[in-house]
Symmetry: C4
Subunit: 195 residues, 4 copies
């Protein structure tokens, strides 16, 4: 089984996840700035979620490019990651409509942890199918970034019950860690003259 169709399906699902959130933005009741004001937090949440899901897409793009073949395990690790990511619009809508409160903010952290777990599972499944000489395995290295992310999201989820704004700050910080695609893969490939 080749990774191309998996990539295409993932592109489709992520494109939908990233775009349907605009359907959730409520129409302002009126046509002045006062009417627009209550929509602004939802717009901010949409921007954050757009970036978050966009980062997963970008890293997924990178990872699959280093992959040569996929099997059933890869496919279901991928589906698990997509399912979890599809909950992002739901949580963003909840926060947008009800405001920044502990439970939805904590659950956003939990969902980001689950998406990170799905991503790591997908990475492992891809390495497993390629076997010992896996180029991806050599490229991944220490998985330090993954552990920092998961810890940050979990901490954010816990701290939400003290103040949800601390969590939001933490989510943004951890998110920014992923903004640049995993340079280890590119460096590895460059070292071998493959990219």
């Amino acid at each position: 089984m080749k990774p191309e169709r998996l990539a295409a399906f993932t592109d489709g699902v992520i494109a939908i996840i990233i775009t349907i959130m605009v359907l959730e933005l409520p129409t302002p009741h009126g046509t002045d700035l006062t009417a627009l004001k209550p929509v602004l937090p939802l717009l901010g949440a949409y921007l954050l979620a757009f970036i978050n899901v966009g980062i997963y897409w970008s890293n997924h793009h990178h990872m699959l490019q280093a992959a040569k073949k996929v099997d059933g395990r890869v496919l279901w690790a991928n589906n698990a990651m997509l399912f979890v990511l599809s909950l992002v619009p739901f949580l963003i809508r909840w926060m947008g409509e009800e405001g920044i409160h502990p439970l939805p903010v904590a659950l956003y952290g939990v969902v980001l942890v689950l998406a990170a777990i799905g991503y790591v599972l997908l990475e492992r499944a891809l390495i497993a199918v390629e076997g010992e000489g896996s180029k991806l395995k050599a490229a991944v290295g220490s998985r330090r970034k993954e552990w920092v992310s998961v810890s940050g999201y979990l901490l954010g989820a816990a701290l939400a019950f003290i103040s949800p704004w601390i969590s939001v700050a933490l989510y943004v910080a951890v998110t920014s860690l992923w903004f640049v695609p995993d340079s280890r893969i590119e460096r590895q490939a460059k070292g071998r003259g493959e990219l």
Copy 2:
């Protein structure tokens, strides 16, 4: 006609079917666990449907990979399967909003039977277009899994009028049969050294 564009169109439709269900999840009214509770059954139903449709995608992916060409009959068998699968979000929303009751649960079984029939029709159409020496035909073998599935879904649909929970258990059991992509195709191909 080549199977690539059929695969791409199917990916698009299934990606939408699998993702729009998240639009159906109602926003919790409030921000504590009590507000989240009524959404949980709908979330469970979404997860089940995500897996169900994901299985069809995975098996479709597998089947089309063994195919070399498609014709009008293949295309319409595929469209019939997609139409039936597109009713899954509708039924899941119905069950999520009105609860687990006999009629919607029975209809879910009927829709799964129809999707299985669509899948078998698609398989036959693909074999027909490839003719006698079809690799896919040699690979399919006894169709035992298909018959067990259809029987399980039909039984589930009938038993829903006694207790819908028996049906849910049956659907989950039959679904799990399809979780692993059809190993006969892979085995066959391996025996011939083609995969």
Copy 3:
């Protein structure tokens, strides 16, 4: 410019058009057959529209396969066809919610005429970009099917103001004309030993 990305974009738009209609199906209020009954006409309309749009996709698939390159005119003829097709879910929803009445049924005919015009414009634009020796031009032949379709849809639109049910019957009849992909293209290609 190559036709592949045009095909991919068209697949995406048509996959969405064909699938979002299921979002329009209202949730039955209740869980018995009485509750399901008012949804049935909308389900019938969804099936008709799914087939109608599916036919355009199938013929589009066929036409683009015979094409070698596209230009700006092809692209905008294609967009015009997609815009018109995107009105189908709107009309189906209108008919589903308000019932089978003259105006929406007549407009459905008008939209089908406009989609047919868009299709013919696309065909001409594709032939124009390929120039005199166009394989597609040789394959198209008399355009009889196109003229019969447009006449049938226009007649249906006019007769809707006498009885919308005559129009529905006509739409179904004209639709069935397009069910089989344009055999002239396949015959032509076979005659030249190209397919």
Copy 4:
């Protein structure tokens, strides 16, 4: 990193943006022309937005065709453009529901400016990744069209507070500038015998 998957993802997002607007069209309450009348301005707005987003897709298609590789900067310039374009359906819905008023019409101009900026950023990122000998850079030339567009949108946004109808006229005029794909790229390529 190759531009193909970026193109596919962009196609998916734009196909969704362009199509979900039809979900926003309200169902007419009644089945005569009087019932249809209040939907007509929304339909006009949908057509304008369909063309606007379609132009971005068409130009994007053109630009990426001249590109050989993409990096993280290209990817995020692309995502920024997609995010801004995804606000178009939101503004169109606002104008459709609340009517043609200064603030939403001005914001439509601002969104079009931001999308133009995103487009130029994407163009620069693509040229940067290709380096000095970039074919795209040689093709772009004076960027006169970009500056005229941005000026027109900004002027439209400002004039909306005098009369929103002047702005609508300006938007249509500036939009028409982009209707034809950037002929400089095609001319350049033809001059070199590459297209």
